[in-house]
C-alpha cells in the first residue's frame, strides 16, 4: 500500500482489488510496525476505523460510494474525534475524549473516509518543528536527523513515510505549508472561513484554518472537497458556495500572471532553496505563465504582528484549560488558586506557557494599544499589500520557508530563531488568503516546497497550478524509500 495516492486507493476500492477493511488493517499494521522511528502518531483508533471501514465496504457494495468512501486517512490530533482521545499533543488533554466530532471530521466521515488515528503535532499547534509535543518530537522520514516542520509535523511525516495517503492539518501561521515543504507534500491552507473551525481546538481563532496534506494536488483537491463548506456552528465560516476543487485541475496555465515578491527572495533565503524555487517558476513560465516582479513592502512586519496577535488570542483561548471540567488536574489542590496555578503550570509545556504569557502581556491594560491595536493595524497593511499585489497578478509565488528542514534540536534554544522560520507563511494567515505548498526539489536530500498564494476563494486556481506543475515534474512522486535517492535540482538539471 505504501505511497499509493488517495486516487489510486479509491480506484482499487472501486475495482474491488481489496476492501476498505483490508487496507485499513494493512495500514494500521504498517503504522504499528514502522512508526516507532518517526513518532508521527499519538494514537491509533483501530476499532473505530474498522467500524468505519465496514460501513464503507457496505456502501461500496450497494454502489453508494463517494470517491473517499473507504479511503483511510489520519487526523491531526487537534481535531476532536468523538469517542477517541484528542490531546492537542498536550499533557493538559492527554486523557480528553470528546463527546463530539469536529465539523471537518464529520464531513470526512460522511464521505465515508476512514480515520485510522491521530497524528503528532506541536503542543496546541504552537511550533514550527514539532518538537514541542508532550508525546515527543517527530522525525522527518527524508532524514531522521531533521525536523518534519510544524505544527502539523506528524501529519506530514505520516504521509511522507507512506503510512497514510492523506492527513488533515491546521495552519495558523504556516503549520500546513511548512511541514508539507519539509516533507515533500502538497498541502493547502484554504481561505479563512472556507473550512469550519468547529471542533478543532483553537490556537488563534482569527488565523486558524484547516486543510489537507497529501502527495498530489489532485488528492488535496479531493480532500478539500470533503472538508470545505459553510457551517452554521462556526460564525466565521463563509456562506459561499463551495466549488468542486477538482474541476479546474486540468485547465492550461496560458496567460497566468505570477508575481514574485522581491521580499521573498531577500538575504535570509538559503540560496539553494532560491534555486529550487526559481527553477520551479521557470517550469511554470514554460507552461504559459507570465512572471512579474512585485513587492509586499510590509512582509517583514508580519513576524512581530503575528507574534502579538496569535499569542493574544491563544492566551484567551487556552483559559478554558483550568482543571475544572476536563483534562489534566493537578494532584490535591489546596484551594482554587492552587488548582489553577499548578494545573496550568504542570499541564502546559514551555512554548505554550511562553505564548500565553506574551499574549497576556500584550492584552494588559496600558500595553493593549501599543501591542494588540498596533499589530491589528499592521495586519491591515499586510492585507492591503496583498490586495494591491493581487490586483496586478493572479497568484504570488516564492519559497515556503527560508531553509529546508533543519536539524532536530537546532532551534529549540532560541525561540526567536524558530519564529523567523515563519517569515514567508505568516502573511497569508494575516490576510486570510489561500496558500499552498507543492514539492519543488531537494537540497542535500531535504525537500523544498514551492509556495503559491492567491486571492480569496482562489483555492481551485492554486490547485490547478500545482496539478499542472505536477504533470511536468516528478518531485511529488519521490519518496524517502524510493530507489532513486533524491538529488538536488542542480544535479538533476545537470
Amino acid at each position: 500500500m505504501t505511497h499509493k495516492t488517495l486516487v489510486q486507493i479509491a480506484k482499487d476500492l472501486a475495482a474491488g482489488k481489496y476492501s476498505s477493511r483490508e487496507i485499513t488493517q494493512d495500514i494500521i499494521a504498517d503504522i504499528k510496525a514502522r512508526d516507532a522511528v518517526y513518532n508521527s502518531f499519538i494514537s491509533l483508533s483501530e476499532d473505530l476505523a474498522l467500524g468505519q471501514a465496514d460501513a464503507a465496504d457496505a456502501r461500496i457494495k450497494v454502489g453508494n460510494a463517494d470517491i473517499l468512501t473507504g479511503v483511510p486517512f489520519a487526523h491531526k490530533d487537534l481535531f476532536c474525534t468523538q469517542g477517541h482521545t484528542t490531546t492537542a499533543a498536550s499533557k493538559m488533554l492527554a486523557n480528553f475524549v470528546p463527546p463530539y466530532e469536529s465539523t471537518v471530521g464529520q464531513r470526512l466521515l460522511s464521505a465515508g473516509a476512514v480515520c485510522v488515528g491521530k497524528t503528532n503535532m506541536d503542543e496546541f499547534a504552537m511550533g514550527s518543528s514539532n518538537e514541542s509535543s508532550f508525546f515527543g518530537a517527530v522525525k522527518n522520514p527524508w532524514d531522521l536527523n531533521a525536523v518534519p516542520g510544524g505544527s502539523s509535523g506528524g501529519s506530514a511525516a505520516a504521509v511522507a513515510a507512506g503510512l497514510v495517503p492523506a492527513a488533515t492539518g491546521t495552519d495558523t501561521g504556516g503549520s500546513i505549508r511548512q511541514p508539507a515543504s519539509f516533507c515533500n507534500l502538497t498541502g493547502i491552507k484554504p481561505t479563512y472561513g472556507r473550512v469550519s473551525r468547529f471542533g478543532i481546538i483553537a490556537y488563534a481563532s482569527s488565523l486558524d484554518q484547516a486543510g489537507p496534506m497529501c502527495q498530489t494536488a489532485e488528492d488535496a483537491a479531493i480532500m478539500l472537497n470533503a472538508m470545505a463548506g459553510f457551517d452554521e456552528q462556526d460564525s466565521t465560516s463563509v456562506q459561499q458556495e463551495t466549488p468542486d476543487f477538482t474541476a479546474e485541475l486540468n485547465l492550461p496555465l496560458h496567460g497566468l500572471k505570477v508575481g514574485l515578491p522581491k521580499e521573498f527572495f531577500g538575504p535570509g533565503l538559503n540560496p539553494q532553496v532560491a534555486e529550487c524555487i526559481m527553477a520551479a517558476v521557470k517550469e511554470i513560465e514554460k507552461l504559459g505563465a507570465q512572471i512579474i516582479d512585485i513587492s509586499l513592502p510590509n512582509l517583514e512586519l508580519s513576524i512581530p504582528a503575528y507574534y502579538v496577535i496569535a499569542p493574544s488570542e491563544a492566551s484567551s483561548n487556552l483559559s478554558r484549560f483550568d482543571g475544572v471540567r476536563y483534562g489534566y488536574r493537578c494532584d490535591k489542590p489546596e484551594n482554587l488558586m492552587d488548582l489553577y496555578c499548578r494545573t496550568r503550570a504542570e499541564g502546559f509545556g514551555t512554548e505554550v506557557k511562553r505564548r500565553i504569557m506574551v499574549g497576556t502581556y500584550a492584552l494588559s491594560e496600558g500595553y493593549y494599544d501599543a501591542y494588540y491595536v498596533k499589530a491589528q493595524r499592521i495586519r491591515r497593511l499586510i492585507k492591503d499589500d496583498f490586495a494591491r499585489a493581487l490586483s496586478q497578478v493572479d497568484v504570488i509565488m516564492g519559497p515556503v520557508a527560508p531553509t529546508p528542514a533543519f536539524d532536530l534540536g537546532s532551534n529549540t534554544k532560541d525561540p526567536v530563531a524558530m519564529y523567523l522560520e515563519d517569515i514567508y507563511t505568516l502573511s497569508a494567515n494575516m490576510a486570510g488568503i489561500p496558500a499552498m505548498s507543492a514539492p519543488a526539489g531537494f537540497v542535500n536530500g531535504r525537500p523544498v516546497g514551492l509556495h503559491i498564494m492567491g486571492n480569496y476563494f482562489a483555492e481551485a486556481k492554486l490547485l490547478n497550478i500545482a496539478h499542472q506543475y505536477q504533470q511536468v515534474t516528478d518531485w511529488h512522486l519521490q519518496t524517502p524509500t524510493s530507489n532513486n535517492v533524491p538529488v538536488s535540482n542542480q544535479e538533476k538539471g545537470a
Binding site: 476532536c80 463527546p99 471542533g199 481563532s205 460564525s235 466565521t236 492566551s315 483550568d322 491594560e365 493593549y368
Partner: protein, 483 residues
C-alpha cells in the same frame, strides 16, 4: 455638613429568548443542574459561539423603546478572568462598541414632577454559571445552566440623587422591558437585577466622591434599603474624618448592611479584546425601523392614553402604567365594568392596599380583573354599597367564589325596598326619643351633622345593606316633619 447623594445603576436584564446568547441550549430557570447546556456553554475545546439573532432584535427593541442611539456596528469582546462558573475563562460581552448608545428615561418623582435620567449605554453579554457552595460536603458544585444566557446590561449616568429616584428608575425600566416583552422581569429569579454605584459629596461640590458598587440587588425594596444604608455608612465615615474606599460591596438584607466583596487590590485586569470567534454585528436602518414600528404601546404612551381616552388624572395614569401587568389588569377591569375612574380607584386603592399588606405583586393577586370588574358593576347598579363592596373584595381576596354568590351568601345585598327601609327608619326614630328631641332643638345648620347618629342606627339595623342614599332621604324627611 449637608451631603448630596449620587447614584448610578447598572441593570442586568435577562432576555426572554428561547435559547442562549451563543448556543442552542434552552435558556430557562429551574432545571436540574447542567441539563440545559451544550458544548459551547460547557466551554469544551473547539466549541464555537453562534450569536442568537433574537437577542439582537430584543436589544434593538430596547434601544428604540428608550429612543437611544442604536449602533449599526457593534462588537463582542472577551472579558478574561478565571472562575469555576466561567467555563471558557472569559465572558463574551461588549466593550468599545455596544449595541445601544446614549439614551434617557423620564421618571416621576414623589412630588409628581418629571426627572430625566441619562442612559449611557446598553450592551449584550452572556451570563456566567453558578457556583453552588451548599450541599456538596465541603466541595463546590458548578451549574452551567445559566452559562451563556443572554443579558442586556443597561448603564445609567450618575443622575439619581436619592434611593427613591433609583427605585423609580428601576421600576420604569422594568415596565419598559416587560412591556416590549424582552424579559419576564422576574426579580426573584434574577431575570432583572442591578448594581448600584453610590457616592456622596458635600452639597455644591462638583467633583464626584469615591463610590462603592453594591452588587446584585434583586428587589425594588432592597434597592432602596441598600442605597440608604450605604449612604449612612459613607456619611458616618466621612464625618468621622475617614475616607471611602472604592470597592465592590454586597447588601445583606437580613442584617440590613453592606459589606465588602473584594477589595481593589484584587481587581482584575480583564484584558478585553474583540472576540475573534464572532463577527462584528452589522445592522441597517431598515432593520432598526422595522423593530421600532413593531414596538407595542410603551408605558409613557399608555399613560397619555389613560388621560386622554379614559379621563384619568395624570397621577393615576402614571401609577397605573408603571407596570405592564398592572396596566393590563386595570384595562381588563375597565373592559368588564366600563368605568375607568371607579376601576382606577379600586386598583390604586383597595387592591394596592391588599397587595402591600400581603406583600404580593400584581401578577400574584388572587382577585381576577373580571371579578373586580363585576364587583364594580354591582356597585354601579346599586346592588351593593361601598361598605358591602369592601366585604365582597375581602371575600374575593380569600378566593371565596363568584361575586354574586358572595353577595348572596353574606346577605350583602343592598336593601332598596322603600317599605322595608321606612319601617327601619320608623323603628329607630321611635326608639330614640332623646336624640329626636336634641335634633329638634338644634339649629337647622347643625342638624346635618346630627343625622349621622340615625344613619348609623339604621345601617346597623339593616346589617349594612340598606341603600344609604334612600336611608338618608327618608330620615331627613321624617325628622323634619317631627320638628
Amino acid at each position: 455638613m449637608s451631603w448630596e447623594i449620587v447614584i448610578g445603576l447598572e441593570i442586568h436584564v435577562q432576555l426572554a429568548t428561547k435559547s442562549k446568547l451563543f448556543s442552542g441550549a434552552k435558556a430557562g430557570f429551574g432545571a436540574a443542574p447542567n441539563t440545559q447546556t451544550t458544548l459551547v456553554d460547557l466551554g469544551m475545546p473547539g466549541a464555537l459561539p453562534v450569536f442568537n439573532q433574537e437577542a439582537l432584535r430584543m436589544a434593538v427593541a430596547f434601544g428604540t423603546a428608550i429612543d437611544a442611539e442604536v449602533c449599526k456596528h457593534s462588537v463582542f469582546a472577551r472579558k478574561n478572568y478565571f472562575y469555576p462558573d466561567s467555563p471558557k475563562g472569559y465572558q463574551t460581552s461588549q466593550m468599545d462598541h455596544p449595541i445601544v448608545g446614549l439614551g434617557h428615561l423620564d421618571i416621576q418623582l414623589e412630588d409628581r414632577s418629571i426627572k430625566r435620567i441619562g442612559v449611557t449605554r446598553a450592551h449584550l453579554e452572556e451570563d456566567a454559571g453558578k457556583s453552588l457552595h451548599e450541599d456538596y460536603d465541603g466541595m463546590t458544585g458548578i451549574d452551567l445552566n445559566r452559562s451563556s444566557t443572554p443579558l442586556l446590561e443597561i448603564v445609567s449616568e450618575p443622575d439619581m440623587r436619592n434611593a427613591k429616584e433609583a427605585v423609580a428608575y428601576m421600576r420604569k425600566m422594568h415596565a419598559i422591558v416587560t412591556t416590549i416583552g424582552i424579559s419576564d422581569g422576574n426579580m426573584a429569579e434574577g431575570s432583572m437585577r442591578c448594581d448600584a454605584n453610590v457616592s456622596i459629596r458635600p452639597k455644591g461640590q462638583e467633583k464626584l466622591g469615591t463610590r462603592a458598587e453594591l452588587k446584585n440587588i434583586n428587589s425594588f425594596k432592597f434597592i432602596e434599603r441598600a442605597i440608604n444604608v450605604e449612604v449612612e455608612r459613607q456619611i458616618d465615615i466621612l464625618e468621622d474624618g475617614g475616607k471611602i474606599v472604592q470597592e465592590t460591596r454586597l447588601y445583606d438584607s437580613d442584617k440590613n448592611e453592606t459589606r465588602p466583596m473584594r477589595s481593589k487590590e484584587e481587581a482584575n485586569d480583564y484584558r478585553y479584546f474583540p472576540c475573534p470567534d464572532l463577527l462584528p454585528v452589522e445592522i441597517d436602518d431598515a432593520y432598526i425601523d422595522a423593530i421600532r414600528q413593531s414596538l407595542p404601546e410603551l408605558p409613557d404612551q399608555r399613560s397619555a392614553r389613560f388621560v386622554s381616552q379614559l379621563g384619568l388624572s395624570e397621577y393615576d395614569a402614571s401609577v397605573l402604567s408603571a407596570s405592564r401587568t398592572l396596566a393590563d389588569y386595570f384595562e381588563a377591569v375597565v373592559l368588564v365594568c366600563n368605568d375607568a375612574k371607579l376601576s382606577a380607584n379600586w386598583v390604586t386603592g383597595e387592591l394596592s392596599k391588599y397587595m402591600n399588606q400581603h406583600n404580593v405583586e400584581i401578577d400574584q393577586v388572587p382577585v381576577t380583573a373580571v371579578h373586580l370588574g363585576q364587583l364594580i358593576n354591582r356597585i354601579m347598579d346599586d346592588t351593593i354599597n361601598s361598605k358591602g363592596a369592601k366585604a365582597v373584595f375581602d371575600e374575593l381576596w380569600n378566593q371565596a367564589g363568584e361575586v354574586d354568590a358572595i353577595i348572596e351568601a353574606n346577605g350583602l345585598k343592598q336593601v332598596s325596598d322603600i317599605g322595608a327601609i321606612e319601617a327601619m327608619v320608623d323603628d329607630v326614630i321611635a326608639s330614640s326619643p332623646k336624640q329626636v328631641q336634641q335634633y329638634a332643638d338644634a339649629e337647622v345648620e347643625k342638624r346635618g351633622k346630627m343625622l349621622g347618629f340615625f344613619m348609623g342606627q339604621v345601617m346597623k339595623a339593616s346589617k349594612g345593606s340598606a341603600n344609604p342614599g334612600q336611608v338618608n332621604g327618608l330620615l331627613k324627611k321624617k325628622l323634619d316633619l317631627l320638628c
